[in-house]
């Protein structure tokens, strides 16, 4: 036993929400059958879309690269099962926009045959250079599994001069209903811990903390058991109070270390890297077994589904099949939400695939969600201010966003808003506050882009003007040079010629009549002037 408890800090605001977690933790994680088709969007991550590496009709094995990452912040896509590529086209993706994105469709053969991963396996990772581990993680297509889907390799690569002191594994899973991390910690604690050790090695970090909300005692105990104690091997497992959003990266860092990620900054700025527990398990599989990311645990829950539970899902499996695997819809499915009830986004159809960032499919009935109530005027009650975990003044942000006074909104630190939804949840006037902030942020980004475009256009115009001026000037200079060349350089010759001509003229004049005087004298001058 550890006799000194880990000191915890607290962040401002937050909410005590009903957890609704036990409805999906009754059964162990169920490994879903291979679907007939998988649809793999080329962009399942933050950053540039991947580029297809296969053609229609090509046979692929499970784990084979089918699209390559393009650019630093990008991630490859792998075939999640074996089969034949039948289409490379735009398909509906699970995205708030509801738009279609380029995707690769594989007709599965049901054999789920793995490509050979032995070449990429590094069971003795401790002797491997961090850079090699990073590129393995990159090639394995691993992105943050907490929902944001940021390419993990980028987070494992601190900027030059940055020393990472602490690795934090995020097992808080603060949002109601979601239990995929909980179940993973219960069932695969050893893989998570090994993944954490790989991360620590890749970052050359000193200490590791695992933060778990105290409403998940089974997960906590499973990890402690796998570690041997709650503190061993430089790793410490810490239970944190259950307050939404304690699982927010910045909030968890604050709770565990007392440090605040600087506004507009990254955790690495204060020597911390935070990864989700699911990501750690994927890193373990990628590094030790050489297996890329082809599946993940998804919570299928809510009153709108008959048999809520967690599924191990091949990426690209349609949501429809996940629901079917959980007994189908119950009588009153009102809303289909990817993610949790606070930050998730509503899908308009179940014909979209589960992707790397799909942590939860919440099918809510009318007891769990309501039609948006009519918004009343803000009564300035300040409930939002009390709830805000970023310590913002949501109500002031609302006024400024509403009046499109975006400069003012930025003065009130709009971009420190993490869109956790606490303010909108407590707002007695039912104001869709988060929507206002998203609107303001999007508008500001748009203005920024427009400004950059305008700047570019102006620059181009100015460059053109400058070029024209320069050309004019050079032309004028050339003229001037020529003119002066005519005037000066051959000067002596010309003068001699002129003198000679004059001499001749004088002689002629002297010899003949004086009427031709002057005419021949002017000519050479004129020619020089226009030459």
């Amino acid at each position: 036993m550890v006799d000194h408890p880990h000191k915890l800090w607290r962040f401002h605001g937050g909410l005590h929400l009903e957890a609704h977690k036990d409805i999906s933790t009754g059964e162990p994680v169920h490994i879903m059958r291979v679907p007939r088709h998988v649809v793999l969007p080329l962009r399942q991550h933050i950053g540039e879309a991947a580029e297809p590496q296969v053609s229609i009709g090509e046979r692929v094995d499970k784990g084979q690269v089918i699209a390559r990452g393009s650019g630093y912040i990008s991630s490859p896509v792998h075939a999640s099962t074996s089969g034949t590529v039948v289409a490379i086209e735009d398909r509906l993706a699970p995205h708030p926009s509801g738009l279609s994105v380029p995707s690769i469709v594989i007709e599965t053969d049901g054999r789920d045959h793995w490509a050979d991963c032995s070449r990429t396996a590094m069971p003795d990772y401790a002797g491997v250079e961090p850079a090699v581990i990073r590129s393995r993680v990159r090639e394995a297509g691993i992105v943050g599994l907490g929902g944001a889907a940021f390419p993990t390799a980028v987070k494992l690569n601190p900027r030059p001069g940055q020393q990472i002191d602490t690795v934090i594994l995020n097992g808080a899973e603060c949002e109601p209903y979601i239990t995929c991390d909980d179940m993973l910690m219960r069932e695969q604690p050893a893989e998570i811990l090994e993944g954490l050790r790989i991360i620590r090695h890749a970052l050359q970090a000193r200490r590791c903390l695992i933060g778990i909300e105290d409403n998940k005692p089974e997960a906590y105990q499973a990890l402690c058991k796998a570690l041997g104690d709650e503190e061993a091997d430089g790793i410490r497992i810490v239970q944190v109070p259950t307050i939404y959003p304690a699982g927010g990266e910045k909030q968890l860092i604050k709770v565990l270390t007392g440090q605040e990620v600087p506004s507009q900054g990254l955790p690495s700025d204060i020597g911390i890297v935070c990864q989700n527990v699911g990501t750690a398990a994927s890193i373990y599989r990628a590094v030790v077994h050489g297996q890329p990311m082809v599946s993940r645990v998804v919570t299928v829950t809510g009153n709108g589904v008959r048999r809520p539970r967690n599924l191990e899902v091949l990426l690209g499996t349609p949501i429809r099949e996940l629901i079917a695997d959980c007994g189908g819809y119950s009588q009153d499915p009102q809303r289909l939400i990817m993610g949790g009830p606070m930050m998730g986004f509503a899908l308009h159809t179940d014909e979209v695939p589960a992707v790397k960032g799909t942590n939860c499919i919440l099918v809510a009935d009318s007891d769990e969600v309501s039609e948006p109530r009519p918004a009343m005027p803000c009564i300035r009650c300040g409930a939002c201010t009390e709830a805000c975990p970023a310590n913002l003044l949501p109500q002031q942000l609302y006024w400024h966003a509403r009046s499109k006074d975006f400069d003012k909104a930025q003065d009130y630190s709009l971009f420190d808003c993490i869109e956790c939804g606490c303010c909108a949840y407590v707002c007695p006037s039912n104001l869709p506050l988060v929507q206002y902030y998203r609107f303001a942020k999007t508008e500001i980004w748009k203005q920024e882009r427009d400004r950059q475009k305008a700047d570019l256009a102006r620059q181009r115009y100015e460059l053109r003007l400058e070029r024209k001026e320069r050309e004019e000037r050079e032309k004028a200079e050339r003229h001037a040079r020529k003119k002066s060349a005519v005037k000066q350089a051959p000067d002596s010759d010309k003068k001699q010629q002129i003198e000679a001509a004059r001499e001749r003229a004088r002689q002629r004049k002297a010899a003949r009549a004086p009427e031709s005087e002057g005419g021949e004298e002017d000519d050479p001058e004129h020619k020089a002037g226009t030459g």
Binding site: P262, A346, H348, V369, P377, E386
Partner: protein, 346 residues
Amino acid sequence: MRFKTVTSPHSIPSHDVAGIMRQVLYALVPGTLAAIWYFGWGILINLIIAVAVAVAAEAAMLAVRGRPVRMYVSDLSAVVTAWLLVLCLPPLVPWWLTLVGVAFAIVVAKHLYGGLGYNPFNPAMVGYVVLLVSFPTYMTQWRPPEMLADTELGLWQSLQIVLTGELPGTMGWDAITMATPLDRVKTGLGMNQTLSEIRASPLFGDFGGRGWEWLGNWFFLGGLWLIYQRVIAWQIPVAVLGSLIATATVFFLANPDSYPSPAFHVFSGGAILGAFFVATDPISASTTPMGRLIYGAGIGVITYVIRAWGGYPDGVAFAVLLMNMAAPLIDQYTQPRVFGQGHRRS
């Protein structure tokens, strides 16, 4: 299968405006019952008139402004305004006085400024001050508390006085009204009496006026319940009463013969009602945590200044209105430090 999409959060919101207003009304009930007990049926009659006028004026203004009438009337904010105004009125004011005050509060102070959420001044206090400066005589005709009243006024008699303005039988106004403790102190000090002489009057109880101090206790309880329910922030009432006590203590210690005790200040007039129910009106108050402390402290100090040296016996209403004016400025300069930022420039 297809679904409707809406933006997050999806959870059913935890609060609504009508719920908040309802809780404020619940919290007012004990104090109001006490007021009826100590000062007679007139309070109840005024309350009925005021609520009726408020709802009618609210509905009319909403209709004129083209707003959804049912949705806004059912938010109960007009009822709260009317209720608070009645608790400031003497029990036997004529019906039209209540009507004028409430109508002014709802029509002018609330709707002409843009309705719920937009009024810079607390409508109840605007209505009260309009009555106070326009009809000072009526506004000082307080009933003595129940234990000091020589004449019993039944429901019927009270109704008659309120509706006709005429006293039943041979009663005179002097017989049924009496100065409030704050009034008595003000006139007594004006006549160069010492406080100990003034306090010899049966009007005074243990802390403030007899009856009045009990009223204060009940409002205090209601206010504590509102804080517990997180309907109001603790900062404002704590700052109002804290600064009132602090200021009163300084002067009381310097000269206890001319300056009443801090306890007297707290348990007299509108101090407790104002601290918990009026100053905490979120729409017209400051909204930042630090701002609320400043805002509340301002109300406490100004209340004291008006009581001690101003022309009116009580100053809560004026203090609230003055600080309402300052609230936007206070908010501007008391923004909290944002997560991850150094101490904010303002």
